[in-house]
Structures are given as C-alpha cells and as structure tokens.
C-alpha cells in the first residue's frame, strides 16, 4: 500500500507525461470496447430482424443474396417469382401462412414494398414480436400506404399524408408514379429493423402503379390508365419478389424446402433464414476479425507509449531510486514500485476508456438510432469486456516489467549513491 502511494506520488511529479500516457491508453481502450460493442449490437440487431419464418422463397441466386434483399432490403433480386408459384405454395398443405413480398419502387430513398394482410398478421421480429400500429391501420384502399416509424419521424409524415412513389430504387433517373399518389393509412411502431424504413402498399396497389407501363416506361396520352380507372381493372399481380413461409410443423421444413428447390414451374430456391444469416456472419467474420485486430494493435500502441515514457524517465530518476535505497528500500522494492507505476497508468487508462465509452454511448445512442436505425443498448461491461480489460492490464504489467527490471539492475549497480 505504501509502495502504491509512493508510485502515485512519483507519477504526480511527472504528471504531464503520465497524463498523456493515460489518455493514449484510455482512447485505445475506448476504441477497442466501442468496436466490440458495435459488433455485438449489430449482430443481435441483425439476428432479431426476422423470427418465426421457416423458409424464404425467391428466384434462384445465392442464399445470402435472397436473405439480404427480402429481409434487409439491401440489393435487388435478379429474378421474380411468378404469382402462380406463390399461389401454389401458399395453398400447400404443409404451409400455415405465406407472405408475398414485392419490391422495386422507392420514395425519397426509402424502399416501397407490396404485400398483403398476412404480413401484418404473421411477420415477426425480435423474440416473436408482431408488428403494431402507433396510428391508423393496415392498408384498406387501393392507394393506402403503411409507413415505418423512421419514415414517419424523418419525413414528418402522418395519417392522411399524400406521397408519390418513384419507379425503381436507383438514385438516378427516377421516373415517378405521379399519376397515382398514395395516402398514409397507418404508421407502424418502431421495430429496430428495416421495417421502420419501408413503405408498405398492397400488391394490387403495386400492380395499379405499373398497369399501363410498357418496357419500363409509363404510357403516354390515351394509353395511360388513370388512378380511378385502374380500380376497375384486374389487379392480380403477375410476379412478386419473394415469399416468406410459415409451416404447420417445422419438422417438414426440409421437405418443403426440397419441394421448392425442385419446383417444376420455374427455378426457385428456399432458404432457412437462420442458416442464411449464419452464412452471412461467416462471410462478414473476416471484416470483423480485421477490425478487432486493428483495435488490439491500437491498444498495444498505447501500451508501448507507456513503456517508452517509463523507460525514458528512468535515467532522470536515478537520484529518486538512490534516495529510496538510502531510506531502506531494497532493489526488489524498486522493481515493485515500477510495476505498480505501470499498473496504475493502465488502470487509470482503462477507467478513462470506460468513462469515454459510456459518455460516447450516452451521446451517440440517439444519434445512431436516428441516423442509422441501429439501437445500441447501454449495458454494463459483460464477462467478455472484463476479460479484454484484464488482458490489457496483464499486458501492461508484463510491459512494465521491462523498465522495472532495468531499474532493479540500475539500483543494484548504483547502490545508495549515484555518480552523475
């Protein structure tokens, strides 16, 4: 205890360099913990995006690609699913419910998705949580739209707001569907998933938008079908983008999967969302690992900085050591003193790092949520974080033993006096 006080007093004498060392360690610890935090939170937020769906069916492509466009609304489908294929599998005896998804249009950067009532009945996220409305109800009229929580907040839309959808999802050369405006009929509660950033319309609404289109261009003049005239037409869709399937019995999952994969009508593919998600993680694992390694190296840099600071102070402190020896300190006390110095620097750095992390989380949480829709829970460090911090402390003590050993040898050689 006495030695510790001595170590801290001695550091106090060199408070400027000590402070810089603590800040360097603190910042590196913040970076490491933040990287880990974002990694784990992003992982759990992705994993909770879809639950309760047994199979996702789409055109044949990669399983990760199918998961990304159907669930995360990232990227685009290479091919469509014909409507009769949807009807075939929706009425399959082993299928409990089927949600059709039709993507392709957008509104001010948000994706528009055509679907039907079963989406609101059966889509689940997190731990089996259903979608709920903060205002309004599912679409009822042909030109009704249900918007996610982010859209309501970011664009300031509410019930009754009129919106014009744009054709396609690209950022350039939009052709819009100005002739058939939609009205907000419902606002969904926040889910923390891509649902918050999606505009939901009925499949018939989606069909009405494109009923007079030819070769990807709107009809002109007499060929155009007005919004009211479209109501009289048969608006059964011809194709959709993907299907989410819930089965009566999960033991039949693989049998239905095989049936989809071997379906004679058109080349289709069924993936288990949980399996595709794991495939996605294994692909992302490399990037995650690289990020982790970089932050570990940043921490090591901080510790090396500490090592340099202590080592370079040793020469100036020969007199200090000699005085310590003269009042009865043994070389091993000098050794311990320097180890304690390294440890206290590291502990101060870790505490500063934790403080900065939580300050950053506290400030950043609402910003990250509003900007990127990623909810980062502020939780106390778990076992994993403590292990990391313990490893940092251990590394700092190991590094501290280098100057400690030198000081030990020096004070053996110098004895009680010092020749300068």
């Amino acid at each position: 205890m006495y030695l510790l006080r001595l170590a801290i007093k001695s550091l106090g004498n060199r408070r400027f360099s000590a402070l810089l060392t603590v800040i360097a360690i603190g910042l590196s610890v913040t970076l490491l913990l933040a990287v880990e935090k974002v990694r784990t939170e992003a992982r759990s937020s992705f994993a909770s995006t879809i639950s309760g769906t047994d199979l996702i069916v789409g055109a044949r492509s990669g399983s990760v690609q199918l998961l990304l466009y159907s669930v995360f609304r990232i990227g685009n489908a290479t091919n469509n699913v014909r409507w009769d294929s949807f009807e075939h599998f929706a009425s399959h005896p082993r299928v409990d419910w089927a949600i059709p998804l039709s993507l392709g249009d957008s509104h001010r950067g948000f994706k528009v998705m055509g679907t039907n009532q079963s989406y609101f009945d059966h889509y689940r996220h997190g731990r089996d949580q259903a979608l709920t409305f903060t205002a309004g109800a599912p679409f009822d009229d042909l030109y009704d739209a249900v918007i996610g929580a982010d859209i309501a907040r970011e664009l300031g839309y509410e019930l009754g707001t009129e919106l014009v959808l744009a054709h396609g999802t690209g950022a350039v050369s939009f052709v819009d569907h100005g002739d058939k405006p939609f009205q907000v009929s419902g606002v969904l509660a926040r889910t923390g998933t891509p649902v918050d950033r999606t505009i939901h319309i009925s499949l018939e609404g989606m069909q009405a938008l494109h009923v007079d289109w030819q070769q990807g261009m709107p009809a002109r003049g007499a060929a155009a079908v007005s919004a009211e005239d479209a109501r009289e037409l048969d608006l059964t869709p011809t194709a959709i983008t993907a299907i989410l399937l819930g089965l009566n019995n999960r033991i039949s999952t693989f049998a239905v999967q095989r049936e989809v994969n071997q379906y004679g009508g058109e080349p289709l593919q069924a993936v288990l969302p949980g399996v595709a998600l794991q495939e996605l993680w294994s692909l992302l694992g490399m990037a995650e690992k690289a990020l982790f390694i970089v932050s570990v190296f940043v921490v090591l840099t901080g510790l090396v900085g500490m090592l340099t600071a202590i080592l370079s102070s040793l020469n100036e402190r020969r007199r200090e050591m000699a005085i310590l020896r003269s009042v009865g300190a043994r070389p091993r006390h000098v050794f311990a003193l320097l180890l304690l110095e390294a440890a206290s620097l590291a502990i101060a750095g870790i505490l500063l790092g934790l403080g900065l992390l939580y300050l950053g989380l506290w400030i950043g949480q609402p910003l990250i949520l509003s900007q990127y829709g990623l909810f980062i829970a502020i939780t106390p460090p778990g076992l994993y974080e403590w292990t990391l911090l313990g490893a940092i402390l251990l590394a700092s003590i190991l590094m501290g033993s280098v100057p400690a050993w030198r000081a030990y040898r020096q004070s053996l050689a110098d004895g009680l006096s010092i020749r300068t």
């Binding site: 933040a34 974002v38 992003a42 639950s51 044949r60 492509s61 990669g62 399983s63 990760v64 690609q65 990304l68 995360f72 990232i74 990227g75 019995n249 999960r250 033991i251 999952t253 693989f254 999967q257 095989r258 994969n261 071997q262 080349p267 593919q269 288990l272 969302p273 949980g274 399996v275 595709a276 998600l277 794991q278 495939e279 996605l280 294994s282 692909l283 992302l284 990037a287 950053g360 950043g364 990250i368 900007q371 990127y372 829709g373 990623l374």
Partner: protein, 194 residues
C-alpha cells in the same frame, strides 16, 4: 464513429462474393438442390422436435464408398452391402448425450446403387446403368431417433467423418430447440450445439 455504413458497406461487398461463390455450384442444382454434387462434400439436415430427431444425409456415393458406378464386381457388391449395414447401424454415426437417452427408431436409404443390389427388375437396372455410368450418383439416408429426455439433448456429435474418410465437409442445416442454425461440419468441427 459511424458503424452502420461500415456494416452495410461490407454487406454489399459480400453480396457479390456470395453470388459469385454460388455460381460455382449452379450446375449441381438440377436434382438435389440442397447441395451440389461435389466429391468430399455432403449435406446434412437435422430437425429436433421435442424428443424426436430427424436427420437427413445426402452425399455423393463416392464420399461413402469410394466409387459411384453401379456395383458389378463381387468386391463392389460386397462394399455396397457393407455400407448399407453401416448406415443402418446409425447409432454409431451420431453420438447423443447419454443423459438424453436416445435410440435409433428408423433408417431409410435410397440410391441408384442400392436399387440394383437386390437384382430384381432387370430392365430397370439397365435403364439406370445407362444414366449412372456417366452421371454421378448420390446416396440419401434418413435417420430417425427418439430421445426420452429431450431436455438433456443439448448437442449431437457427427461421427460420419471417421466412419467415412472420403467425407471432408458436410453443409449443415439444423433446426434445434432454439431455432435454425447452419454452417459447415468437418472432422475437427463435428459438434452441433443447441
């Protein structure tokens, strides 16, 4: 710190990788879409529902037998017979926790190689041999286990790799008590944890 753009960015990068990787096994999709016919690689589907465990193995015959042609010689026929016996005794291929008290209920095997085994239906055999002489042959096996102590069923060890050294990887799709999981099983990573 802007984490999500990074994540999305890597996701988008991954899409191209993933679709490129997929183009590879496109040719194998004609018949058994779960896995391409790639020697050394099989697919394993597994569902745990209460105490009932259903396992489905689809593997190129080569992984299990060392050849894929219809067994003509006496030695080949003996090999096929031995393989059938080995698969029928599936309790040595899948190791359950002892506390779960699992027992093998049923095994169903199917493969063009097994059909000719009995020798009945000669015409049928010939039709097949025309195809199979050139194309690859798969072996499909369904195993059903029943466990009386389902709460103790927290993992299953797949011992197929030591039994069949020709099998390098198994692409796993599993539905456990806590949900779906996927991945790849190998001789060193042969444990499915729930």
């Amino acid at each position: 710190m802007r984490p999500t753009p990074f994540i999305i960015g890597s996701l988008l990068a991954v899409i191209s990788v993933a679709s490129a990787a997929h183009d590879h096994d496109e040719h194998g999709h004609e018949h058994e879409s779960l896995s391409a016919h790639e020697h050394g690689v099989g697919s394993l589907n597994l569902v745990v529902d209460g105490g009932e465990v259903a396992i489905e193995l689809v593997s190129p015959a080569n992984n299990l037998l060392g050849f894929e042609h219809l067994p003509a010689s006496k030695a080949d026929k003996a090999k096929v017979k031995a393989l059938q016996a080995q698969l029928n005794d599936a309790s040595s291929l899948f190791v359950f926790p002892a506390a779960a008290d699992c027992s093998l209920e049923e095994v169903e095997l199917s493969s063009p190689l097994f059909e000719t085994e009995d020798g009945h239906e000669h015409e049928h055999e010939h039709e097949h041999s025309d195809e199979s002489a050139e194309s690859h042959a798969d072996i499909q096996a369904h195993f059903h286990f029943n466990c009386t102590q389902e709460a103790a069923l927290d993992q299953i060890q797949v011992a197929l790799f030591s039994a069949f050294p020709g099998t390098e990887r198994l692409l796993l799709q599993a539905i456990g008590p806590k949900g779906q999981q996927g991945g790849e099983l190998t001789a060193t990573q042969n444990l499915i944890r729930f």
